[in-house]
Symmetry: C2
Subunit: 201 residues, 2 copies
DNA sequence: TGCAAACTTGCAGTGCGTGCACTTTTATTC
DNA sequence: GAATAAAAGTGCACGCACTGCAAGTTTGCA
């Protein structure tokens, strides 16, 4: 009847509660000192239910948002036809980071703390999340009219993911106050310049 | 007395035996259907000893060779002063892949099979292995006279790692018979060209 | 030969992750 | 609104990963 249904809304809530609980606890004690039981208790569900939503603690903390992959891929395709593939990726990623909702900002702050202690998770956030990268590869491939197994789409997507990872790393650095969009733009510009010369920064 | 000592040689042998056993079994049944007990039994040691060498199964099959990181970093620094940082990284990586000993080729073939089923491990092989990437960042930073926390060294190292990952992926593709060195060179060239235009390949 | 350091091993314990059967909640149909 | 189906939550049991700890065993050196 209604647009979404009570069931789907509850699922979303449970997932969000688990993810938020995992992030809060991990930011406090470190991920290794948080058990699945702790997380599910804090979220008000049984430990067994936790595994119905996430494959493990890592995924609850740094699990890729299943929506961002398709969205980025779509955005790459939808960029104006005049721009190159690199510019299309650049625009798509910058649009993505510009769109972080206000009610998720506190979650990102928690994520920053957790990821700082666990660099392995950084790769899963965007690039290493093969899921998202696959969508990006597909978008690029469609845009340039190549197969998704060709070198160019794979390399462009991987390099863009690497740029994201570096931008995130620097964003987490408390000594660098620049916003994420600026850092990401710098990284992508440097990339599309062929990493020619080290900037004076 | 002698150059290395019996103890060190035995440690090397045990480590190699464990790694080889893990790779062989994982290539046969898939990594998920191999227990640590299987691996250590095949290697002739106790399960407890396995954990004295590796933190887990993943590290045994895709664990980064602890020597490659420092070696690549050193090579980057040792390139002729005339060449740019990008060219230095390019040369260092190509020298690295060209130097794979013959007696390790069969291990790489096994690794190919295992990694094909577990894309997550691909990142650990070179790029994701933060260990190796840190050395690469340090080498680049020293070469260009920047700090290891600056954008340029981090991004160049990350992008080079991404190129390695893509080259490996394509190398694992049975439809592409080109050698690893060629694939890697293509990827790095495309990268240093700013990913400007999709090649006709 | 004897001592000290390093490597190996067994044991016990905690926690992860999964399959299965069962209960509870939500959606649909008559 | 009651019956039925579908989906989510839960408890239980099991195998395995991984970690200290306290032995035993091997190696290096005097």
């Amino acid at each position: 009847m209604n647009g979404e249904g009570l069931r789907d809304r509850k699922k979303r809530q449970t997932r969000a509660a688990l993810s938020r609980a995992a992030l809060t606890l991990a930011a406090e004690r470190g991920l290794d000192h948080v058990t699945v039981e702790d997380i599910s208790t804090a979220a008000g569900v049984s430990p067994r239910t936790f595994f119905n939503y996430f494959a493990g603690k890592e995924e609850a903390v740094a699990g890729p948002d299943p929506e961002v992959g398709p969205r980025v891929g779509r955005r790459v395709v939808e960029q104006p036809v005049g721009s190159t593939a690199v510019d299309a990726v650049k625009a798509a990623l910058l649009a993505e980071v510009a769109e972080v909702p206000t009610d998720e900002r506190d979650l990102w702050l928690l994520r920053m703390r957790v990821v700082q202690q666990h660099p392995v998770l950084l790769a899963r956030l965007f690039a290493g999340g093969e899921e998202a990268e696959r969508h990006l590869v597909a978008g690029i491939a469609e845009r340039v009219g190549l197969d998704a197994t060709d070198l160019y789409p794979m390399l462009l997507a991987a390099a863009a993911g690497a740029a994201c990872r570096v931008a995130f790393t620097r964003w987490f650095d408390p000594d660098d106050p620049r916003p994420l969009a600026t850092l990401l733009a710098d990284a992508l510009d440097l990339l599309s310049a062929g990493l020619a010369n080290p900037p004076n920064t």
